[in-house]
Structures are given as C-alpha cells and as structure tokens.
Amino acid sequence: MKLVSEKNVQRILMAAAFSAISALLLIALFIFNEGLPFIFKYGLKNFLFANEWQPQLGKFGIFPMITASLWVTFGAMIIGAPLGVAVAFFLSEYVPKSVMRIVKPTIELLAAIPSVVYGFIGVMVLAPIIRNNFGGPGLSLLAGSIILGIMILPTIISISVDSILAVPQSYREGSLALGATVWQTIYMVTIKASKSGIIASIILGLGRAVGETMAVIMVAGNAVNIPHSPLDSVRTLTANIALEMSYATGIHRQALFATGVVLFVGIIILNSIASVALRKRMVK
C-alpha cells in the first residue's frame, strides 16, 4: 500500500516539474517565434547596426538603443562595482560578524525598493542636480548610470560577500602570521581567492542593469540617438520596448519582439559567463 503511494507521489512531482519546465520553455519559444521572423525578413545586420529607428517609415535600426544600453550598463558598472566590492570587503574583513549580520540585510533592502521608486527619485532629485551643475536636460545617460549603479549594489555586495567569506580562514591566517596587515592580506591573498565570485557578482549585476526598464524610462530621457556625452538623453533597448509596445502594431510590434530576442540572447550570454566564473570559485 505504501509502495503504491510512493509511486504516485513520484508521478505528481514529475508532472509538476514537467509543467514548470515546459512553461519556462514556452516563454523562450514564444519570444523567439514572434521575433525571429522579423529578423530574418529585415536582416540581422540592418536591425542591429542601422542608425535609424523610425517605425512609421519602416526603419528599424536599433543601434542607438544598443549603444545606449551598453553605455548605461557600463556607467552602472563604473559606479556600482567599485562601491559594491569595497562595501563587500569592508563587511567581510573589517567588521565583526554580529555587525555584518545586521548591516548586510539592511543594505539588501536596497534590492526591495521598486524600480519605479528609484526612477522617481532619479527624476526629482538626481536630474535637477545634474542639470544645474553640468548642464543638459538632466534626464540623461549619466542619471541612468547613477541610478542603475545604485540598483545593482545589493547584487554585487551580496554575492561578493558570499565569495569572500568562502575563502578559507587558513589563507588569511597564513598571511597574517607572516606579519601582513589586514589590508595587505586582502590585497595579496583574499582578492585573488575570491576573484571569480566577485567577477560573477559584477556580471550578474550587469545583467540586472541591462534588463532594467522602469527606472531607465524615467531618468534617461528616451531620445533615440547615439550618445556623445553622458549628459545626452538616451533610450535603452528595454525602454524602447516598453514605450512603444502599447501602440505598436504589425511589423512595428514584431520589431519590438525582435528587440526582446536580442535582450534574451544577451542575458543568456552574460549568465553563461557568470556561471562559468561561479563554478571556478567552487572548484577552488
């Protein structure tokens, strides 16, 4: 009797797992199904590298958006990575464990704040500061980078702290026993040992930045042009989809799905690199 219900339990679990995985596959298939035909018809090179996005004229070059996404993400990395890694090291190496256990979750609250709130603060606080001190419209690449940099901090800090804490204490003790200071130990030993994990955290943070939509729509300006200065207004790939989706039809809509395909592929590539880096950390 018990054997029969064991089999049933296994069947139910397998069915659930199967449906969950099918659902996830479905998403990938649908996006590709909607977007790929357009890419084949329009031409990948034209899509990715043409400069003009004018749906009403049938021009669907997303190059400006690609550069915008790349620049904004790069800017976010410049701001978020050093800050995040610095905080991660401070929390893991210099601060007593009891303090870390309170401060780390507190900082992780940054991740809980909805992206629209970030966008809003960017508009109300950050953009005027940029406008008044640096010129330009304020709603700019710079504003987007700063806000995104802050948004990816929790990701970078969280995963980096885990990597740093995973470095065996014996590594540190060996160094300290030779008379090195804590900083020297970090600099010469701990960084190297936790490098893969920290890099993985930055790559995952970049993935978040690339995928961010609402905050960027609110602060980056949304003009379709290739940025020449951080003060220029820009429109990212995600913003483009979100802004035009509600009224796009026909081939215009397909182009937006194709943009989704580009994002999808990009994220998968980023994730693969990150998981390779994370696996290297485990092996160490």
């Binding site: 659930a16 449906s19 969950a20 905080v87 704040i113 809003f120 900083w183 609402m214 937006l256």
Partner: protein, 278 residues
C-alpha cells in the same frame, strides 16, 4: 618610495568604511525622501477611498486590491509548482546532463528582464489565449516570472540539508517520500519561505510585466477577468503623467512600506530559524 603598510591599511579602512557609509546613506535617503513627502499624505481615507479625476484626488483603494490580488495569484500558482520541481530535481533524479541544462535554464530565466515577461504575457495570455487585460493574465505572467526564482531558492535550501540526514533516514527504513516529507522539507522550509517572500516583494513592486497584462483600470475589480491597477503601476502613471505629485508620494510611501514589511518578515523568519538551530 614605499608607503608603510600601516599607512596603506589606514587608507584602506577609511576608503572602505566611507563606501559602506555612503551606501547606507543612500538607502536612508531613498526611504527618508519617500517617507518625508509621502507619509503625510497617508491616512485611512487615502487607503480606503477610490481615486477621483484619474488619480488627481481621492485615494488608492483599488490599487491596494490590485497589489494584493496579483502577487497572491502568482504565489498560489508558482509556489507549489516551484517546490515540487525543486524537490523532484534534487531528490528524485540523478545528476545528468539533462538536469544540468534545466538548472542553467532556470538560472537564466531568473535573470530575464521583467519587460520580456510582459511581452510574453501580453502575446500569450492577453492576445492568444484571449484573456484580455485581466487579473488572470497579470497573475499568470507574474507566476512565470517568479517561478525560476522559487525553484532556485528552494533548490538551494534543499541542498543545504546535510547529506547525513538523508542517510540516517534511509538507514532507518524510510522511503524517499518519507525522507523528503519528514526530514528534508521541514529543514529546508525557512530557506524556501524566504525565497517565496522575496518573490512576493518583487511582485508587489513590479510594473513592466503588470502594465501590459493586467492593464490599468481604476475600477474595483469584481472578477478575475477584470483589469486592475497595482500601486506600482498607479505610482508610475501618476509620476510620469505628472497628475499629482502629492498622491504619487503617498502611493510610493505605501508601496515602500509594503515591500519593507514583506522583506523584513523574510529576514525575521530566516533569523528565527538560524537561532533555533544553534
């Protein structure tokens, strides 16, 4: 000229602690800013009355309903599916190339931007299946969005149960399901619950996936096929269209309070568990 190690140590400590203080200040500023402008707007009337004049006046009651119903529906669908999937993957299958691919796939999907889920939800639920802009479309979309995260965090929680517990259970003549039910799930539960709560928090704050699937109707929904607006969407519309700065702040404050409560509860649960163990 070589700088004395003590001095570089000093500089390092100063820089690193400054970074940490800066980060904390940013967090405090964000919450403080929203609360300073938003808390005064909050009142029982604000939370329980409906918006008037497209949100320029009145309260946010329908959006509260939306913000509760959509994450609730998503959790109801995604949690059992996600936990069953992770239990099946961890305990009932051997580690093969197939399971590695599945794991990679779930990891990737956990990182896909919510706008893509919005696209999917729109084309699949709203249009193809004909559900229209509705609570159903929105709930289903959010469910697939949080499913990978729930699978991932559940898997981590299940894996962190020591192998020796399983061995002991089997050696005492337990079946696989008995081991899962009596030893593994109870011990993995806090990790699983934390993952679920964080997903709730994410759903409450979600905008891109919701606006294209649940719509933005301000009416109080009466059925699962009705469109609804969440607080996050409402806030976005108020802010972007410049309808009412005051109500925008009030909505934002409510939103932030909601996600803070959910996240802090998740931490509290995790801490209770860690304390009970040691």
């Amino acid at each position: 000229m070589r700088i004395h190690p003590r001095i570089t140590q000093r500089i390092a400590v100063t820089v690193l602690s400054a970074a940490t203080v800066l980060t904390l200040l940013i967090l405090i500023f964000i919450i403080g800013f929203i609360f300073e402008k938003g808390l005064p707007v909050l009142s029982l009337k604000f939370l329980t009355s409906s918006p008037e004049d497209m949100g320029k006046a009145g309260g946010i009651f329908p959006t509260l309903i939306g913000s509760v119903i959509l994450p609730l529906l998503a959790i109801i669908i995604a949690t059992p599916l996600g936990i069953c999937t992770s239990v099946y993957l961890c305990e009932y299958t051997k580690e093969t190339l197939g399971t590695k691919i599945i794991r990679f796939g779930t990891d990737c999907l956990a990182g896909i931007p919510s706008i893509i889920f919005g696209l999917f939800g729109y084309i699949f639920f709203v249009v193809t299946l004909g559900f229209g802009w509705s609570i159903l479309s929105g709930g289903l979309t959010l469910a697939v969005m949080i499913l990978p995260t729930i699978i991932r965090t559940s898997e981590e929680a299940i894996r962190s149960v020591p192998k020796s517990y399983r061995e002991v259970s089997f050696s005492l003549g337990a079946t696989r399901w008995q081991t899962v039910k009596k030893v593994i799930l109870p011990n993995a539960l806090p990790g699983i619950v934390t993952g679920v709560m964080l997903s709730i928090g994410r759903s409450i704050g979600e905008t891109a996936a919701v606006i294209f699937t649940a719509g933005s109707s301000l009416r109080i929904p009466t059925s699962i096929m009705d469109s609804t607006r969440t607080m996050a969407v409402h806030f976005y519309i108020l802010a972007r269209e410049g309808i009412s700065a005051e109500n925008a702040y009030g909505t934002a404050a409510t939103l932030v309070i909601a996600v803070l409560i959910v996240n802090l509860s998740a931490y509290w649960i995790m801490n209770r568990f860690i304390a009970k163990r040691s």
